[in-house]
């Protein structure tokens, strides 16, 4: 029972799962990098990053590179913990 509880609804989507996976192994990733890797559209990716941001699992940093706006994302401590729990739960469910 407790294993099922550890399955996190926030990660129950391919794009959100992908965003978190990328941010677990990279210090940060910008919007375009996420878009390329996940093959998502602007609007689709934006809504998923918003959702993760609302959970405080990712941190958003807006800056300018030259005159171009650039948004970069990183995983928060909370997000990393939550994602690790999620992976552990997945592995246990498969192991059974």
């Amino acid at each position: 029972m407790s294993i099922i509880n550890n399955i996190n609804k926030a990660f129950d989507h391919r794009i959100r799962l992908g965003i978190m996976s990328i941010l677990m192994v990279n210090d940060y990733a910008d919007f375009n990098m996420l878009k390329e890797l996940l093959g998502a559209t602007d609007g689709n990716l934006a809504s998923h990053t918003k959702a993760l941001e609302k959970e405080e699992y990712i941190l958003v940093e807006k800056q300018f590179i030259g005159r171009k706006p650039n948004t970069r994302y990183s995983a928060s401590k909370l997000g990393k913990q939550a994602f690790k729990k999620h992976i552990d739960a997945l592995e246990k469910l498969i192991g059974k």
Binding site: L17, A29, I87, L90, L93
Partner: protein, 205 residues
Amino acid sequence: MDSNKYLDDISEIKNMMSRSSRFISLSGLSGIMAGVYALIGAYLGYLILYPSNWKFDTYEAIQEALIAVAAGVAILAVLTAALLTFRKAKRSGEHIWDTSSKRLLANFLIPLLTGGIFVLLLIRLEYWVMIAPSTLIFYGMACLNASKYTLRDVRYLGITVIILGLLSAYFAGYGLLFWALGFGVCHILYGTLMHFKYDTGDSNK
């Protein structure tokens, strides 16, 4: 039913983690070619250094011929690697110039350029015996450093080449032999390994 979805999730996580942090389109074949060029270069070096039909009048002429051979090998190896890797990346749909490839290149080039400058300084001081060990050790370090951002096998190539570099510093005077072993044989060995491990698998998909 559900367990299948979880399995998919796990493989998606693994896939994204490796694709976002490692450049995986490195071609094994380019390693083999680099090794072949290095062996040809080592043979030319042997003809230049040891008694053969090739005669050189001055010490400077020998030096120039050796540097020309080394530069030729390096340029050919880099061009082949770039071409084959570009082809492989295109086939597997990976972007050739993205964060992972830039990071790979930067982490490879910093130790390598340091080594290059160091070797030029050794040439200036005429420390000939230390040139082969230095090129091997710095190249090995560059591979070791770059391996964090690409296929794991590059790590073992790096370690092997570093050990050969240290051995060649001990057995001074056998530089050319170690050079042929490190840049020639090792590249062919690890290149073949990588080719069969990754390249052939890709084309079956």
